[in-house]
Amino acid sequence: MSGDRAAAAAAGARGAAARRGVPAEARAALWLLAPGLAVIGVFFLLPAAAALLLSLTDFDIYALADLGNLRFVGLGNYRRLLADPIFWTALRNTFYFAFVGGPLSVLVSLVAALLLDSRLARWRGLFRTVFFAPVVTTLVAVAVVWRYLYHPRFGLLNRFLGWVGLPAIDWLGDPRWAMPAIILLAVWKNFGYNMIVFLAGLQNVPATLYEAARIDGAGWWRQLRHITLPMLAPTFLFVAVITMIGYFQLFTEPYVMTRGEGGPVNSTLSVVLLMYKQGFRFWNMGYGAAVAFVLFVVIVCVTALQLLLRRRGGERA
């Protein structure tokens, strides 16, 4: 409700500005935007503000019974969080997943898109469907199958390793291999989506550029480096930012592959999984909200860094 009021107040302030000479068009635009802003205010800004307040309290199962049991703890949750080794483990795991899995996923998507866009490719429609199918498949169903693939004694992956003479890997049981296993699954599951985005980007590159390059004698590699990749730059930025934000919110993969624990030895515990465990299993809502805000800050920082790098790169080019 206060969101409504805020939006109304904002609109009122702008109205005053309008009387001082803002064109009628801008005023109309504001009225058209108002419903959207109100919805964002009520369903996004307001809950986010409430969560921020929640993170400053020790809201838990006792407070659920009686609000008199709620204590304002200031930054206590954040202080406790930063002193909790499990939080740092979760953060490290999340960074590992995002910085290895994210670029890998983008790379696989790009390669798949280039292959499908190639003039030599046959049955494009079929491959596009096959590559996109994992994206629309339920992860829970996928996880059941992948748990079999990863089985140390009977799994298909270890069978393959055996054929080429490599020792078997205890995929989900060995703390060193559990995260790579999750990354492999996530990349396979998600690359199809970015592939479609890249394909759309590739189709927007004018054919005349390639023609001109061919006339100048540029080979496949030079065409890729000097035409395809620069022309894809905006698409690339979009894909990279969205992928990283998505990968920082790692949750479902370890949740379904390790029965909600993030094991072995917390090696696949992500920040969001930690938040879920604290908030919904143990009902430490205040602490869970603090975890959410720390993750939010991390994601904002990483995204800002990406945009900054991109701008620098753009200046150099």
Partner: protein, 447 residues
């Protein structure tokens, strides 16, 4: 999925009649009264397989109480805890529910449950003395009865009699030292590709069972602080992690074991700590040739245990009545009915859940079963877990910390210090609440 009920047709007829009445009266009010055809409607939430099977016990109850009708909602076990708390917040709790024994303290702490002392005292059908003492105690919180045990479980030893006999073990091992010797012999015979015992490292019940067996209180000062540095706790944890360090137990998490029953049949491991639900599974899933080669036994006792008997940890499910229920009297009738020895014996026959009432154990199906008798013996010597809502959080830390010791990343003593610190921090709010409570009523020396 909605339960299939034989009386569905007649209920529709009742609803039609009600709809006709509703034309004349205020729609909402009349329909509320008519939902069960003028009968009092009781809502029962039951979990997992029990939720399915309990419906077979209800027609008899409805026949005896024609004025009542019971609606069962079957809830998957893993979702139940969240759903119960959400229902409490949303003021939509049922009349009666089945609760896992570890959830009772939490729901009692938030004031969701009705105290049952008065009803128990009045009841002619049910007396506390007829329940296993540890199990009954699990439903008593700060001196008040909140839950009536429905079925009980405890973890004890499942073992291969043929393998243990071949290894020259005491059958079954009665003390920890005899047990440990036996495991070493089993391992020596099994070679590098087999193990003496399977204890999935991500399961907290086995180490907690050992802790309780060794006499550890888990928490101290009325559940205000952790007691993991207690010498009894240290002894149990040292015994536990050493099984992995010495290679007697494989370092493996449960979801990676694969087909447990097949591996037990193959002799990949010869012992397993589990509960009554596995009696049925072992019976069904082991090859017929092995049908006579496995047995159950109470957990071996620490060598200096009083009377040579170890202590088990009792769990299971209880029946509770929610405070918000408007059918307290009828809800109690249902709880009383489901607690009758005859119904408990039937329930055992249907799902294999062990009866909480000792009288039901005289049923020939139970009295004649050697494997069930081991459970009975253990249940006589079993205690309830500390009745603290935060317990699950604390024992979750237990296996996280012990995993580190098993992997050799941390020493045991340091892990126990850390565990106590974790527990003390988790219990901080509880200490604050207890201190505030004490300050508010200093004169009364209540429970």
């Amino acid at each position: 999925m909605r339960p299939r009920r034989p009386s569905l047709g007649s209920r529709r007829a009742v609803q039609r009649r009600c709809a006709a009445v509703a034309v004349l009266a205020a729609l909402g009010a009349t329909q509320a009264g008519c939902g069960g055809g003028g009968r009092e409607r009781l809502e029962l939430w039951a979990l997992g397989r029990e939720g399915e099977v309990v419906q077979q016990l209800l027609p008899e109850f409805e026949r005896r109480h024609p004025e009542l009708r019971v609606e069962v909602q079957q809830i998957p076990f893993v979702m139940a805890h969240e759903k119960l708390l959400t229902a409490f917040v949303g003021r939509s709790t049922p009349d009666v529910a089945q609760l896992g024994s570890t959830w009772i303290p939490e729901l009692a702490a938030i004031g969701a449950l009705a105290a049952l002392d008065g009803r128990v005292a009045e009841s002619r059908a049910l007396s506390p003395g007829d329940f296993f003492p540890g199990s009954w105690d699990g439903g008593v919180i700060e001196g008040q009865v909140y839950a009536i045990p429905w079925y009980v479980d405890t973890r004890l030893l499942f073992y291969r009699t043929d393998l243990l006999a071949a290894a020259g073990c005491e059958l079954p091992p009665r003390t920890w030292s005899s047990w440990r010797r036996c495991m070493e012999r089993l391992k020596a015979r099994a070679g590098p590709d087999g193990f003496a015992i399977l204890l999935p490292t991500n399961e907290w019940p086995p180490p907690v069972a050992l802790l309780v067996d060794a006499g550890s209180p888990l928490l101290r000062d009325g559940g205000r602080y952790g007691a993991f540095r207690d010498p009894r706790s240290r002894r149990a944890m040292s015994f536990y992690v050493d099984l992995f360090r010495a290679g007697l137990a494989p370092v493996v998490v449960d979801y990676r074991v694969g087909n447990l029953y097949q591996l037990f049949a193959q002799g990949w491991f010869a012992m397993y700590i589990s509960g009554p639900w596995d009696m049925g599974e072992f019976r069904r899933r082991l090859p017929p040739a092995l049908a006579g080669s496995w047995a159950t036994a109470p957990l071996p006792a620490p060598d200096d245990a009083a009377g040579g008997v170890g202590t088990g940890l009792v769990g299971g499910s209880s029946l509770v009545i929610f405070r918000a229920s408007r059918h307290q009297r009828a809800a109690w009738e249902l709880v009383e009915y489901l607690s009758q020895p005859a119904q408990q014996a039937r329930f055992y026959a249907l799902v294999g859940d062990l009866p909480a009432r000792r009288a039901a154990w005289q049923d020939p199906a139970l009295a004649g079963d050697r494997r069930a008798r081991a459970f009975q013996e253990q249940l006589q010597h079993a205690v309830a877990a500390p009745k603290v809502p935060e317990l699950e959080q604390i024992v979750t830390r237990l296996w996280e910390r012990s995993e580190g010791v098993i992997e050799g990343r941390q020493g045991l003593d340091q892990a126990l210090v850390d565990l106590d610190r974790d527990a003390d921090r988790i219990l901080e709010k509880r200490r604050w609440l207890l201190a505030r409570q004490a300050a508010r009523r200093p004169a009364r020396g209540g429970p």
